[in-house]
Symmetry: C2
Subunit: 526 residues, 2 copies
């Protein structure tokens, strides 16, 4: 039985404030700096490593963070979660996304069903469907193969699957498993759906409607938009659409779809990339085997998150250092900076994952908390960001902690040698250089060219971005966010903050407004 | 003669701290709330409006901000700038991007040239080139028309032009002026160039190499990458490439290009969308007339930025309210939230524009400042963001001021009516609802469903996103950032913070490293 305590009730949290601050310009200098880089490194699954040598921690800080992990019973709480406790207390739900990719503990039975078996069965159903689409056994009205998959979903039904698709597109092309192009429609802005439909061969497209509840306004509107486009072309929508939803949703047994695949209430939208929500589009695009490899990577990384020793648990360590930066060092924003064009939308996914999970002011019992919680997350791929917002990261008045990600090899392996090095080497040299520039800075008499340093970062490094590595990366951040939610005593699995806007938007559309809201509506002549 | 003073030396800055805070839940309630929405609105050019009713200011605050504008001589400094003073003191350069779209004051002569005439001449040269490409007078080796334009550039040579292209792509399709598709290669990651080349018809592509100095590592590397791809296909690179650069760069007179178009040192990369940097790709994609309309919108909006009355000067007012939020209310981040899929990359452009201009800790004389300067900027289009990070914006522990952008009409005009309203109406209803939800919140006994309100936002509203409106929007933010830089006494036009990383990356590639930097390089086996 674990005890849920607020962060500021923990003795180790108070102790953390008293710890001497680490000066990166000092600890990273000379031979001991090199030694620190080699030592402050934790193996992850699939050959990845989490390196925190450029974070403002030392052995003393790490000792207190370890106490914090124990005092807050973080591993025990994770165990509660994957064993099927009602961790999402607000909505009275279990939290089972890890179960979509592996079995971390004992069997979890809910609603009379072995949930691991349920998720595996859905994965299998999707695999069979995808293979039939690839073989042409399932085809359009003319018996012609589908060539494009178009996902219709928003939030968790869009950002994660889209980021994963972009991450593996080139890898799949190179490795001969690129089956179909995927596109995504998310925004209720009609220009989104119209633009995507303009860019695809509708007659040869299969549309994946994704909504857990089956009631998401944007998604149903875009479904109607797409159905309309299909009918206009003389096509039968029910021969072009599948649904990913919960078994209890209105979409589940509708004859409007070729087939329906299920997730359930125990998979939060932002944690659903490894469920049918990511499974359908990724299996169609790259084949079920690639999707299975992605799940294997996530499952392997989940296991590293079980370790009680924070120095052997990358997600836990990352979470704790983040708490130190947020609550002690006072940093309100974290930048996610992948040196990999394939991860161009990964920061946007992490933005939802983190900010929607931990952007909260009440604890899991609904009591206001007196400490800061989840930070703002933003990011763009490097080296692009270097020519954009890095100026502020280097010389701005606020300190923004950074999470770098980098790979030794490119995905496509097509490269040129210019001025004695390949593009890939240049990319890697830049990320190494940036970490040191941020951490150690450089004194200059011209203060405009002066870099103070002590701008902390960590890096996740791997050989190359494979499906397994991507799964491990995803799992790392999901578990990091979960652990931070535990430390802050939040329910990281609901999102009550999105409700009020929905309610007011309905009022606007129903013309049931007055005062300022009516005045704002009038601007748009609604 | 204007006087440059630090922000904390201004009497009005001190006064600003003492002003009573505005409670949005109060001032936006009832009939006076509606009145406030109608009153706190400033016309912009091209039918746009800047509405700040949901910002935490009242007539008293605005009075002090007006004093601040006078005391800091903001309009006089703008006048100095467009009249050709050396405002970029660090690099000893004039700042003339406004001159690419209009003449705000007297003739500016630099290096013996009338600069307005110079920029117009480049625009004309580009127009002639683009028309020849469209007519087929300039064609590939086989005499076949070019169908795609591929921009090779990074930072300001990428983000702005790319955001503008995406913003107008659908508009151009609907209005019969879509001439060629454009693609962009920016990252030194070889997967970027390889992926883009995979997606285009190289034989019918014209490549636009954009680098002011002609020495940008990423861009030269990608040029080599592209040349290699052209040669591999038996094509002559010099028949497929143009350059946009400065007249003094190594690219200017090279026979490697069909033609070269010029900008100069007085146009900062992040301010170059209205110069040849944006001009070449946008004129090729949509025709010179569309580019000219875009410039007209920017020129018209520049004129509104001349007004001494802050209540009639949207960029100035926006800048001053931003300073109040940053320096008095203590907000470190601003979210940019366009309710328009076409503006999906506009926040990424503003991120560079703002963070690279004002993310600085020393004033224009190179002296460290004791106050916070430019905030972090991030954003994604609505309604997508509502299903992602808005949770934190509504209920997180930090206050994040917001900049909404919305349009009454969609660009393509293709829409469906579901549940009694079109998608476009739903989109607009959502932005109106969000502004009020953020500002006024909603009490709930269940604190998990409680919204405190007082989360400030402004909105820029227009009829639809045309080339003119886009130009006006761009100018608004450029001038806002400029005014904030004046208030903070920064040089907003250099970027010394990007240098150190470049220097260290070169050392890594030359294997001239030791200690921690070598250890980081070893991770990548460089």
């Amino acid at each position: 039985m674990t005890t849920w305590k607020n962060y500021d009730e923990l003795a180790s949290a108070k102790k953390l404030e008293a710890v001497k601050k680490t000066d990166l310009t000092e600890v990273l200098s000379g031979d001991k700096g090199a030694e620190r880089v080699r030592k402050y490194s934790v193996p992850m699954a699939c050959g990845l490593k989490y390196n925190y040598a450029a974070k403002q921690v030392d052995d003393e800080t790490l000792g207190v963070l370890s106490e914090l992990a124990k005092e807050a019973e973080l591993i025990a709480k994770f165990k509660d979660l994957y064993s099927g406790e009602v961790i999402n207390t607000g909505e009275k739900r279990l939290v089972l996304h890890q179960l979509t990719r592996g079995q971390l503990g004992d069997k979890v039975v809910a609603d009379g069903v072995d949930k691991r078996e349920f998720y595996v069965a859905q994965q299998k159903k999707i695999a069979e469907f995808a293979e039939k689409v690839h073989s042409g056994a399932i085809a359009n009205e003319k018996g012609e193969k589908f060539t494009t998959a178009v996902q219709i979903g928003i939030g968790g039904s869009d950002l994660g699957p889209r980021a994963m698709y972009i991450a593996l597109e080139n890898w799949a092309r190179r490795n001969g498993c690129f089956k179909m192009e995927a596109k995504f429609i998310s925004n209720v802005d009609p220009d989104d759906a119209a633009g995507v439909l303009e860019s695809v061969d509708v007659e040869h497209s299969v549309f994946i409607l994704v909504s857990k509840s089956g009631t998401t306004l944007e998604t149903l509107t875009n479904e109607a938009f797409v159905k309309n486009a299909l009918k206009t072309r003389g096509l039968d929508p029910s021969k072009h659409m599948i649904a990913v939803t919960s078994e209890t949703s209105p979409l589940a047994k509708s004859s409007d779809y070729l087939q329906a695949f299920f997730m359930d209430d125990y998979i939060g939208g932002r944690y659903s990339s490894t469920s049918a929500v990511g499974g359908a589009v990724l299996s169609l695009a790259f084949g079920p085997d690639v999707f299975a490899r992605f799940l294997d990577g996530a499952a392997a990384e989940d296991k590293t998150a079980l370790n009680e020793d924070i120095l052997q648990n990358p997600a836990l360590l990352d979470a704790l250092i983040g708490v130190y930066e947020r609550n002690v060092l006072g940093c309100g924003t974290t930048a996610v900076l992948p040196y990999s064009q394939a991860l161009s939308r990964f920061p946007a996914h992490l933005q939802q994952l983190d900010m929607e999970s931990n952007g909260k002011s009440v604890n899991r019992f609904g009591e206001p908390v007196d400490y800061v919680t989840g930070p703002v997350i933003f990011g763009e791929p490097g080296t692009n960001g270097q020519h954009s917002f890095y100026q502020l990261l280097h010389q701005g008045t606020d300190i923004i902690p950074m999470q770098f990600i980098g790979f030794k090899d490119s995905q496509l392996g097509i490269d040129v040698d210019i001025q004695g090095s390949t593009s890939q080497k240049k990319l890697c040299a830049n990320v190494a250089a940036q970490i040191m520039a941020f951490a150690c800075g450089k004194s200059d008499e011209n203060k405009n060219k002066n870099f103070k340093g002590n701008r902390p970062s960590s890096i996740i490094v791997g050989d190359s971005l494979t499906p397994e590595a991507l799964g491990a990366l995803l799992s790392h951040f999901e578990n990091k966010v979960m652990f931070q939610g535990f430390v802050w005593n939040l329910n990281s699995f609901d999102q009550e903050g999105v409700q009020l806007g929905k309610v007011l938007a309905k009022k606007v559309l129903a013309h049931e407004t007055d005062g300022a809201l009516k005045a704002y509506s009038d601007m748009f002549e609604i």
